[in-house]
């Protein structure tokens, strides 16, 4: 029996053979019949455009348009220093601190832990010494790098974007190929502006139907992950398509692409359209004038060709979708709010049963409990998944004129300084503060707690973030993922609850 030693190679062996064969067939056809080139996906087009050379093992050296850096990047800069290397193309880099920054102050000196302070300081010093653009804490444009880069127009259609963070998939929402990389790869990109990659497979997720009121992008992506599993897209780049995507705002598209990694996807992407162009027009780093027109014309050609082939394709109708919440320690453990905690006894596989029991013990749940009555201690609105203006507006619409339950500590952490500024201009800060929410400064904050913003052991948290892993929001934390409107509803009622009746009351 022969098995593969890496999924990537498995993909390579099958798809590169297919590709070689296709190429050979096409070449033959072209000579004889003048057959037009095979239809290509958005992913194919971007991949090909960035291909520099191929190595003997079939890996491609890809050129990186934009390399984003955050304050977790210190080990990569250290690797570069140890080899005495400089940045090859510093103008293609951009850094802003988000993981280690305080959200109750804009002063790095206020970080008590010297190691955390050193991480944030290192990004400032390393970007400066390499000549890379940097937005520090004293700059209103600072924030979570996956919120800031699109907001500045640094993420654009057709680009190949990398960052040493798994949620780099977010930027695919503008029609870019964007994925997370490790520290060694960050050092490699800094030194050469390139990266070795084996071409992943292509997967299309088509979203049909019409989103019901009170149901949005976060519910859609949680439903997708629940359907295909936390490893359902491993080895694949996902392209989201269909009428639901076309009608979705950029904020919603960011939320969906952001959590592609939670389904195992190498990247998530959406073909650029007028929604994308309207979003990008006038952004500080977006092209202007004639160059803008030329770029838009080019970007319009990026959409997948009719008949382009995907290795996997699924379709989901969202018309009957309900607000989703997670109950377990994997984002795939998502159910509609009217559901009950599942019973391990109904799981045939013994290992699965044991894993599910461990999850219920950790989460403090028993089989059959109704999800919509679970009492919470913390409510968190923010993160690269849901820290954008539309997310805060959706939450504020629920919160307006109401009060946070006494037993709940509720926070709003805007995704960037500019999101915060815009929200304040709209009066959202007052709505949140009047209700009893803390209105804080931009950063990753309680999504993963690296800056010290954590949920205490045993506390139950309703959170707009992306991961409900064991200990994710702090050791012993119990995280339930959901949309901003659903977190707002949970904060007000003190327990997980369906937000829709609250929306109806507003009407």
């Amino acid at each position: 029996m022969i098995y593969r030693s890496l999924r990537g190679w498995q993909n390579c062996l099958s798809s590169s053979y297919k590709r070689r064969k296709q190429r050979a067939d096409t070449d033959g056809d072209t000579a004889v019949n003048q057959t037009p080139p095979a239809p290509r996906t958005l992913f194919d087009k971007i991949w090909n455009q960035h291909h520099v050379l191929e190595r003997e093992d079939g890996q491609s050296l890809l050129y990186v348009d934009s390399h984003f850096l955050q304050d977790g990047s210190a080990p990569a800069f250290e690797m570069l220093r140890q080899r005495g290397l400089k940045a090859h193309a510093p103008q293609r880099g951009f850094g802003t601190p988000d993981h280690y920054v305080p959200t109750n102050s804009r002063d790095l000196a206020s970080i008590a832990d010297p190691e955390k302070r050193a991480m944030a300081n290192a990004l400032r010093d390393d970007t400066k010494s390499l000549g890379i653009t940097f937005f520090g804490l004293d700059d209103v444009r600072q924030g979570i790098v996956h919120v800031v880069a699109p907001e500045q127009g640094l993420s654009r259609p057709g680009m190949l974007i990398v960052c040493g963070d798994s949620h780099t998939s977010t930027h695919g929402a503008v029609g870019a190929l964007a994925f997370g990389i490790g520290a060694t790869e960050v050092a490699h990109v800094l030194a050469t502006q390139t990266l070795w990659q084996r071409k992943p497979q292509a997967m299309r997720i088509t979203l049909e139907g019409k989103l019901p009121a009170g149901v949005g992008a976060k519910d859609v992506i949680l439903a997708i992950i629940a359907k295909i599993g936390a490893g359902g897209a491993t080895g694949h780049v996902i392209e989201y398509a269909g009428p639901v995507i076309r009608n979705l705002s950029m904020e919603g598209r960011f939320t969906i692409c952001n959590m592609s990694i939670e389904a195992g996807g190498r990247a998530g992407m959406i073909a650029p359209d007028d929604t994308t162009f309207n979003y990008l027009a006038g952004k500080p780093f977006a092209p202007e004038g004639a160059r803008w027109d030329k770029e838009v014309a080019r970007w319009r050609g990026l959409a997948s060709d009719a008949g382009a082939a995907y290795d996997k394709a699924i379709t989901l109708d969202v018309s009957a979708l309900q607000p989703m919440v997670t109950w377990g320690n994997s984002p795939e453990d998502a159910l509609s709010i009217d559901s009950r905690v599942p019973d391990p006894a109904n799981t045939p596989n013994a290992d699965r049963r044991a894993a599910m029991q461990r999850t219920l013990d950790y989460m403090g749940l028993t089989p059959g409990m109704a999800l919509n009555s679970l009492k919470i201690d913390r409510a968190f609105i923010g993160s690269c998944t849901n820290g954008r203006i539309e997310d805060l507006q959706a939450a504020a619409a629920v919160v307006k004129g109401r009060k946070v339950a006494q037993s709940v500590e509720a926070w709003v952490v805007p995704g960037s300084g500019l999101v915060k500024q815009e929200a304040e201009a709209l009066g959202l800060d007052s709505i949140f503060k009047d209700a009893g929410f803390q209105w804080r400064e931009a950063g990753c904050s309680m999504c993963l707690g690296t800056n010290g913003d954590t949920v205490a052991p045993g506390q139950r948290s309703a959170s707009t973030t992306n991961r409900n892993f064991v200990g994710r929001q702090g050791p012993g934390s119990r995280t339930h993922l959901m949309s901003p409107a659903m977190v707002a509803a949970a904060a007000l009622s003190g327990c997980l609850t369906d937000v829709r009746p609250m929306l109806a009351e507003d009407l």
Binding site: Y3, S5, I181
Partner: protein, 196 residues
């Protein structure tokens, strides 16, 4: 990174699916310098309680499993974050091979940069292997890179495919960046013809 050698070592079973990178290396250790022994932080919150006491039910705390150099895990091992520290934690502990039905893509890439071999075998083969290990804790698993086989002492052997380049990198140690730097002229030629 040391060159990969023939492994005949204790295997630690991870019988849970989706064992994410936060379990392998909790986020609060991401701020530690690479000079630390990240093996001390491996599976930290599974190995120890909040008060630092050992969790006796976690297998790595059992003397039979402590010398483990191989991890045999269920599907989607090391899904989640891009933290290379997850690979460092396994590597610093002494782990040189992870055998699983599937692993996170970024983890696989990070592993390949650090001399950690990833072998993918079908889920039923992994289930069988985990059952054997659990039936006799401390059981050795043999990874023969030259022959490209994974075997257990009862003689059951499974072959796996890997390309010769990756194999050579594991055996000889790889300096990928060093190689790419020799290709800088081609990168610069690409840049000259690149309008964006």
């Amino acid at each position: 990174m040391e060159p990969f050698v023939h492994l005949d070592a204790v295997a630690l079973p991870v019988a849970r699916p989706n064992c994410d990178t936060d379990q392998i290396l909790p986020a609060r250790y991401l701020q530690k310098p690479r000079s630390d022994n990240f093996g001390d932080y491996l599976f930290r919150d599974l190995r120890y309680g909040a008060d630092g006491s050992e969790n006796s039910t976690f297998l790595l705390n059992s003397p039979a499993y402590q010398p483990a150099k191989i991890v045999v895990a269920k599907e989607n091992f090391a899904c989640g974050s891009s933290r290379e520290h997850a690979v460092w934690a396994l590597y610093d502990y002494g782990v040189r091979a992870v055998i699983a039905p599937s692993v996170g893509d970024i983890f696989a890439s990070n592993a390949s940069k650090n001399g950690l071999l990833i072998v993918l075998l079908p889920a039923d083969v992994i289930d069988e292997m985990i059952a054997k290990i659990e039936a006799s804790p401390g059981l050795h698993v043999i990874v023969d890179l030259d022959a490209q086989t994974v075997s257990t002492p009862d003689g059951v052997s499974h072959g796996f495919i890997m390309d010769s380049y990756q194999k050579r990198c594991l055996k000889e140690g790889l300096d990928e960046l060093g190689y790419t730097l020799t290709q800088l002229d081609r990168i610069e030629a690409f840049e000259r013809g690149y309008a964006y």
